[in-house]
């Protein structure tokens, strides 16, 4: 009987939320009325990394901090600020970690050099194969 009551109590179980009770910020889940500005904001939000759900962009994340960052991005875009300036402002605070867009820092060099290296490797491979066939 005791066990049954405990089991029945599970029906009334509630998840514990690690979130505040405040509603999302005004522009967190609302598009800007100007389509061009909204497109700019959307493009930038997809390139900014969420601090909570690391690996998601702030455009994808349901975290409250991501919502507040979307609000910040949309308000600044609506005020006429350039996306590159907003990105720079955030990088000033969180480092290049916050941006998915690779810059020119040394850690990103392999990324930029990889296509070139693969292209050269491919050319070398083709040359070798054609050379083989010509010899035959």
């Amino acid at each position: 009987m005791k066990r049954l009551i405990i089991l029945a109590a599970l029906v009334a179980a509630q998840p514990t939320l690690a979130d505040s009770n405040l509603p999302p910020a005004y522009w967190a889940n609302r598009q800007l009325p100007d389509a061009k500005a909204e497109a700019k904001a959307q493009a930038l939000m997809e390139e900014l990394r969420c601090l909570v759900c690391q690996g998601q962009s702030i455009a994808d994340s349901d975290a409250e901090l991501a919502g507040d960052m979307r609000d910040l991005v949309r308000r600044r875009i609506a005020a006429g600020e350039k996306p590159s300036a907003i990105r720079a402002w955030l990088i000033e605070r969180y480092g290049t970690w916050i941006s998915y867009k690779p810059g020119d820092e040394p850690a990103a060099w392999p990324l930029w050099l990889a296509p070139l290296a693969l292209l050269l490797a491919g050319a070398w491979l083709i040359r070798k194969r054609i050379g083989l066939r010509l010899k035959r």
Partner: protein, 175 residues
């Protein structure tokens, strides 16, 4: 294909498994440190978070004396565990201000009544704006700010009793 070449996939597999096992045993550090450390406090001005206690602005953090700035919220569970540590730091002479992230006056008053109130000023950061300006990525976090208003250190996560001597030492150094 030579015998040695045939070993390559096995070696690659072992390398992969070893890499995965290593990260399972020693998970990567997911904390994002603020780049604002060693720089002046960013410009911000927050309204009072509860009645009877002033709000917080950048100028309040450059008073000639080192201060602690605690980023917290009444909805944050680790902040409850941190409260006695902040109380002890206050008892030993630390000046503490707070930024209450996404909070309501009622919830905050209840939190302070229950867990103690070590704060001289508390700013209401309803949209995490000040938090983002500081480069803080969650609650709780604590910034150590010197008398000139320059951020000296950032403590990510709840302070524990073992942090107390270190924090007091850093406060003394920032004098």
């Amino acid at each position: 294909m030579s015998r040695k070449l045939r070993l390559i996939p096995i070696v690659l597999l072992l390398w992969l498994v070893a890499g995965l096992a290593w990260r399972l045993v020693k998970p990567a550090d997911t904390a994002v440190p603020s780049q604002m450390v060693a720089r002046p406090v960013p410009a911000f001005a927050l309204a009072p978070a509860i009645r009877g206690k002033p709000g917080l602005a950048a100028a309040d953090l450059a008073t000639g004396q080192p201060r602690l700035l605690n980023v917290f919220g009444s909805w944050c569970v680790p902040c409850i565990g941190e409260a006695p540590v902040l109380a002890e730091l206050k008892r030993r002479g630390a000046k503490i201000d707070g930024i209450a992230v996404r909070d309501t006056p009622d919830a905050l008053a209840a939190f302070l009544a229950r867990n103690g109130d070590p704060y001289e000023r508390i700013g209401a950061d309803r949209q995490s704006e000040a938090q983002i300006a500081f480069g803080s990525s969650g609650v709780p976090e604590t910034f150590l700010i010197d008398g000139k208003g320059v951020i000296r250190r950032q403590y990510i996560g709840a302070l524990t009793a073992s942090n107390i001597p270190g924090v007091l030492h850093e406060l003394e150094k920032a004098r």
